[in-house]
Symmetry: C3
């Protein structure tokens, strides 16, 4: 198997990140998010603050209509019930047929073998982007060769944690922004996935879109943490920061390595 | 068909609006809300801030008990899954039998033919109030005669947008309050529907109740926008404004035309 | 039947309450919460602010895996649909097998006979803790003898209201903290149940754990009410207060009688 993992690590330019953010704000893409019950409200508000439009039905009867007309599809596997299991393949097929980017977020696959098996089936759809943390990555892939096989088929991997790594066939990004308060609020990771989906809808280079989207979200988190007294006041501040994030905020804070 | 659409447009008096708000605060009506998964938490908090009591089960086994004992029923068609489809007719029948007002909010019927067909069936129940935006109105009604037929049978229509219009057999209201930030927060429209349901439970003139309820909600939105730095801080400010809205706030801001 | 209801009422010491809070913060227990759709997001944020970890799936296929590996199980009966009905017994059995404490919160059993019957079946599992208000207590128990039989079998009862009472075989607590704004925000009671579950996971004396957990939550409510202008700004302040609650906050405010 010929692997592209020798891809060079690239620096991210503030102007590029801001340009993609402005594209989202101007085009107001609709992201159809099949996401977990805990994350729905916050994810919708993150998308709206960013300038995108959320839709969120999980009903199998209508999810294909919603996904076909959306600009990107987010599939988050939290609270994976029967309705979501039935809806997800229909939504992915509709998004694929209409050439919309598809992002998979295999939340907590490390805690549930059934969910992990379902996530593995989804990888066969060759999603554009998979967002996960290290524990989820270890549950989902047998070894490094498994990871590299996925990347070789064209999927971009965004592995989040204290440091974030974007891996793709062409190039990698190592990102250093964010604040510990983000982990003290539910569904920040899930909502961050929706941000990546919005960015992927305005930029065909998915690795670049993911790097820019994650940087915007994490920089907004830093700005918010500077204003907040704790995880409660952090949430409204994060949404305000996403809403008004400027080029100079990005220039002052963007850190990749 | 004899139509009453020649109804005269009426001005709304601040004292009337405040009187209805005070009735809600004193009587603490329970609104049973079958609403979408994204809107549930925010809708419950809007009702509580207003002085009403939310209940929100969608389980077919128990929704009739909840709706029968409530003071009004809100049916919002967002995230319309099998459980909601089964529950809605049972809840509407229970509310009807007990003479509680029924409000239908056909969210996103323009994006889903299946949902649109379901919404049309619900109109046959002759709901007291239908709240929708222009895109949803265009999807739901074939032409203006369709709209007028619904109004002629006694249903009040609240068409929301930059300007809001309440249409009824007897009279119309044109309302001008609100703030653009309301569209940058998920489920403000949905939660606004719950406010209308609460107002309809304390005033038999449904058009007047809808006009007063929408004005209260939109004026609270204006007060909140004046305090907020973005869509994040807007949410807690909106709830605080609903909680403490005074006659002088209404006098200073109420705009109808 | 030999009853232990002659248990003496005990004072709660601030140092004890703070010690249990610090245990939660250090051990970061995972609480699996099967809770209602309205409460999920807020409950997750309350647990995270407290220092615990939420998991929330209700899918019958995977709920046993989640509950088996968690440190405590919360079963809240709000929005009790088919999926939740199927999941709850599986989760309770998995928690029991692994000796994790189980807390039942029979929300609104007074409004739904079907739900009340289901709650009665759950009491046969001998939960460690049942949290409810007076109306729910009156619906769930035929008379005082019924209540006492449950306590005699080892279940601790937390009856919340303007004053809170913890009843157990060994001793009772009467608690006086809290603020009226807590009732103007949805799911504060439900989220409070999750706090009790977190405390029960770090202290085998369940009555003491419940008294300490409830006091922490209600004192955080008082601190938040002192900062908030209404029920909207109250929510972020409550989360911040939980996050940073100190021994001196508890010393200054703890009231039991």
């Amino acid at each position: 198997m010929s692997l592209s993992i020798a891809a060079s690590t690239q620096d991210l330019q503030p102007e590029t990140v801001f340009d993609l953010l402005q594209r989202v704000r101007r085009r107001t893409p609709r992201v159809h998010a099949i996401t977990n019950a805990v994350a729905q409200g916050f994810t919708a508000n993150v998308l709206l603050a960013l300038g995108a439009i959320p839709s969120m039905t999980i009903a199998p009867q209508e999810v294909a209509s919603f996904a076909a007309g959306a600009d990107a599809l987010l599939v988050n596997l939290g609270t994976l019930d029967e309705t979501r299991r039935a809806a997800i393949p229909l939504a992915v097929a509709a998004a694929r047929e209409n050439n919309h980017p598809v992002l998979i977020d295999p939340v907590f696959v490390n805690l549930s073998p059934v969910r992990c098996a379902f996530a593995k089936e989804l990888l066969a759809f060759q999603p554009d982007l998979v967002r996960l943390n290290e524990a989820e990555q270890n549950a989902l892939f047998h070894d490094r060769a498994d990871v590299e096989a996925l990347i070789a088929q064209g999927t971009v991997l965004a592995v989040t944690g204290e440091r974030d790594k974007i891996e793709s066939r062409k190039r990698d990004f190592h990102l250093l922004n964010g604040d510990p308060l983000m982990a003290r609020v539910t569904a920040t990771g899930c909502a961050g996935g929706a941000v990546l989906a919005a960015f992927a809808s305005v930029e065909k280079d998915t690795a670049l879109a993911a790097a820019a989207g994650l940087s915007v979200f994490n920089i907004a988190g830093e700005v918010a943490a500077g204003q907040a007294a704790g995880p409660g006041t952090f949430v409204p501040e994060l949404l305000d920061a996403l809403y008004s994030l400027s080029l100079s905020d990005i220039e002052a804070r963007l850190r990749s390595a």
